[in-house]
Symmetry: C2
Subunit: 153 residues, 2 copies
């Protein structure tokens, strides 16, 4: 078993790869961008209602938004990443090729994203606004870690 | 209270409008397209695993996909629809202006989408493959109802 195979297997186990027909590179790119954009919209709602105070706190809305972020985190996005979909080979993407050279780092961030997003979902269901705000920041750190490492400017 | 106000209020109550700052028309369009695309990807996984049999049935994956679809349905997408974002006034969208002329029809479909997606989430958690396949079809009907009425070809 070569190193690459081991890393991919570990990554797949960590973020639950759905067994589906291989997608085109274009579909992978559009789908991962859509998933992150949907997550981002929901992060914005939680930020507005628990951090900035620019919108009234509504627990139902915050709980729904946290579920949406957790759903993205748990959706098995690893199938949306193929080597040919990085920005040295594909158009309309900011994915850097080093994503495929640092699988342990990817795995670590992906696992953190799942863990922190699941924790946010639980706290949002419980409804303590300050606790939600703190956990929102932890989720945001996992987004940022991925972008700093693997997303082009 | 004029008719328009009543309809909007009913619609808002039905699909839980988050209280956030008004988004730009471009952001509304991109975000709603992202949300539906994310839902569509997850519908495809359930179809492959429970209807077509083109991928092995994995209950964890199907349950996660159903959660993702329900998260979209419950995300308060009504804030992503403004009159100026229809395809007679905005670029890069297939939203037809009649969306804003038929609010009761929009509401009916949106409420069905939430109900059927929540039922799919419950059935997927329970794990009966045939029941999931049947409920998948019901969710698909609500997608189609909206597209037939409000999405341009």
């Amino acid at each position: 078993m070569n190193k690459r195979f081991v890393s991919v297997a570990v990554l797949a186990a960590a973020i639950s790869t759905p067994t589906v027909a291989q997608m085109s590179v274009e579909d992978q790119i559009e789908t991962r961008q859509a998933a992150y954009q949907f997550a981002s919209w929901n992060m914005g709602k939680i930020k507005a209602q628990t951090v900035d105070g620019s919108a009234a706190f509504d627990q139902n809305q915050v709980a729904a938004a946290a579920k949406a972020i957790a759903a993205v985190a748990n959706s098995g996005m690893s199938v949306l990443y193929s080597r040919d979909s990085a920005n040295d080979r594909a158009e309309n993407t900011r994915l850097k090729p080093n994503f495929f050279e640092e699988p342990m780092k990817v795995q670590e961030i992906a696992v953190s994203f799942v863990r922190e997003a699941n924790a946010l979902q639980e706290l949002a269901a419980a409804g303590d606004q300050a606790a939600i705000a703190r956990q929102f920041a932890k989720v945001g750190e996992t987004c940022k870690a991925c972008h700093d490492n693997f997303r082009a400017k």
